[in-house]
């Protein structure tokens, strides 16, 4: 599917449109967080602690009197930063390892597949929890742990796709015309397998946002006072009775972000795999 047709399809796919719109909005909020947030996210006002939503504090205040709207807006930054970093690095590593293994085969493929088998023997989030537990908390370590877990899925997907495409006639033709291996991989194979990787990346973005929030919820993610939706949810748990807004707003933000990128991924999958369109219910 060419780019023009692809963009046209996105315009008619409700899932992709909704996901793309909300996702873009979240990215915008992340970029403009200091402008959007009415207060500094770390600014405390103890006499105003645990205030319910009001005209001055739309999302209320937390137990240190910090404005929840400002913290949720800045939390978007952390989520998007982690999401994009993890998806970009994981997909790059997965593309590299998967292409080489799928194209060349041999011992590299064997070793890679065994490593993939072992890493997949752990539920993804558990491995990330394990790595952060031993490495210690911190934004960079969190991203590194999620990349260590995330690249595996891309590598397996890319390898499988390369195995299918490398046997097609146009690859044989390129080889017989004397194209180098690097040229075949970069100019012929990768462009032909990139679409499912895009779908995986969108769903992976939702997964990374969820994983960051989960780890921060367990106290293994972003260290305070940096605002993370997961950490805010964890802090809010002790005030479920007297200040449920502490859980509701970061909870809604997490859900919306995960929903948006899952929708985008589902929409892209439908567009790129027309057989699924007949089964879809939400498309139009």
């Amino acid at each position: 599917m060419n780019t023009h047709a692809f963009l046209q399809e996105i315009g008619t796919n409700r899932l992709a449109l909704f996901g793309g719109f909300v996702g873009s909005l979240l990215i915008l909020i992340a970029v403009l967080a200091p402008v959007v947030a009415p207060f500094a996210f770390e600014s405390q006002d103890l006499p105003l602690r645990l205030q319910p939503p009001s005209v001055e504090h739309w999302f209320g205040t937390d137990e240190l009197g910090r404005d929840m709207l400002s913290r949720v807006a800045h939390g978007t930054r952390i989520s998007m930063l982690v999401g994009f970093s993890v998806v970009l690095v994981s997909s790059f590593l997965g593309l590299l390892a998967g292409s080489l293994a799928g194209y060349y085969g041999g011992w590299f493929d064997e070793v890679l597949m065994r490593v993939v088998d072992v890493l997949l023997a752990f539920p993804g989030i558990l491995l990330a929890i394990a790595l952060v537990a031993f490495w210690g908390p911190g934004l960079e370590k969190l991203i590194l742990a999620l990349v260590a877990v995330g690249w595996v899925g891309y590598a397996r997907l890319v390898r499988g796709q390369i195995l299918k495409v490398r046997e097609l006639d146009f690859i044989k033709a390129a080889r017989s015309l004397g194209a180098s291996n690097a040229r075949i991989i970069l100019r012929h194979l990768v462009p032909n397998i990139i679409q499912p990787v895009l779908v995986q990346a969108s769903i992976g973005m939702a997964g990374a946002i969820l994983a960051e929030a989960s780890l921060s919820f367990l106290g293994l993610g972003v260290p305070p006072p940096l605002p993370s939706w997961g950490a805010m949810l964890n802090d809010g748990r002790s005030h479920l009775f007297d200040a449920p807004h502490l859980v509701l707003f970061p909870g809604a933000a997490t859900m919306l972000a995960v929903l948006a990128f899952n929708f985008l991924g589902d929409g892209l999958r439908e567009i790129l795999n027309p057989r699924l369109q007949s089964q879809s219910t939400l498309r139009r």
């Binding site: 023997a121 539920p123 558990l126 031993f134 449920p244 909870g251 997490t254």
Partner: protein
């Protein structure tokens, strides 16, 4: 069939060895001295050396690895630094609570998903289908650390129907099991729906209808039976996700299982206990995946010849 089982068992052994190796290597990922971190900054040098010796960390890495493999194969996962008891015994005392919770979540997920998926598939594209499919997307995107506290606010605080935490009776199981099983249920509903839509287009369904069988029989006795085969695989694979999800659910509901134990062990830097918990969860995951593969092979005879 026997060669299929043997082959799957043989394929699982290197994975298990890889899992044990990875879990062993975790303690060497700790930046700095793991023993010093466990004991804290103010610890006496003699205490540090004593614990280092006790954990075997003063030995060469290969010797440590050999000893770890030997101990693990005999069920010895070391001594917990925090509890001063064997890790195996602590995990064994907590594991049943997690298994109970996971099984109940699985049952809840499957019991809700099958009728919902069938209902959605009876009229694809209709209002009910749209509503149910939207609900499943919502269910998949709703993390348990969001749905758990919201469930507590609604059902425990506002309505006062269910207890917030603990494990004293059946009522205590409801909120954690539903929270843990909600996204599984959503995934299964989508699978049952997709499978049913596919099966309902098959020739044998048309034949059954042409014979004048009541629609309910066509749906439940013919189409559903065949569409459930891939669901079994997903159930097995999702069991591991449930075990990982239990870490968060058990933390929210103060559930005395292995998930909460893992978090407690991480927070108290009890590395032998963290390693033990990770190893047990990963091995359970691998075993359940193996069993799923075998059951799938039994249900669909085409699989074992591949």
């Amino acid at each position: 069939m026997r060669s299929f089982i043997l082959r799957r068992l043989l394929l699982t052994l290197p994975v298990l060895l890889g899992v044990v190796t990875l879990v062993f290597s975790f303690i060497h990922l700790v930046p700095g001295d793991p023993v010093q971190i466990m004991l804290g900054e103010g610890a006496q040098a003699t205490d540090v050396e004593q614990l280092r010796h006790k954990l075997g960390l003063d030995q060469p890495v290969l010797t440590q690895y050999g000893r770890y493999l030997k101990d693990v194969s005999s069920g010895d996962l070391g001594i917990s630094f925090r509890f001063g008891e064997p890790v195996t015994a602590i995990i064994l005392s907590r594991f049943p609570a997690t298994l109970q919770l996971a099984m109940l979540s699985l049952a809840f997920g499957a019991l809700l998903a099958v009728p919902t998926g069938v209902l959605a598939a009876t009229n694809p594209g209709g209002w009910l289908d749209r509503m149910l499919t939207s609900a499943t997307l919502l269910g998949i995107s709703l993390p348990n650390f969001v749905s758990g506290p919201i469930a507590i606010i609604v059902f425990s605080i506002m309505l006062g129907w269910l207890p917030v935490s603990g494990r004293a009776g059946l009522a205590h199981f409801i909120l954690p099991a539903v929270t843990l099983g909600a996204s599984l249920s959503a995934i299964l509903t989508r699978m049952v729906r997709a499978g049913m839509i596919e099966e309902l287009q098959e020739e044998y369904v048309k034949t059954a209808r042409a014979k004048g069988l009541p629609e309910i029989k066509v749906l439940l006795k013919h189409a559903l039976k065949n569409s459930l085969i891939p669901v079994v695989t997903v159930l097995g694979l999702q069991f591991g996700t449930l075990l990982a999800g239990a870490i968060i659910t058990e933390t929210i509901f103060a559930w005395p299982g292995i998930g909460r134990l893992t978090v407690q062990a991480i927070n108290s830097r009890d590395y032998p206990l963290v390693q033990g918990c990770l190893l047990v969860i990963a091995c359970t995951y691998v075993t359940v995946n193996l069993l799923t593969d075998l059951v799938y092979g039994l249900l669909d005879p085409r699989i074992k010849y591949q």
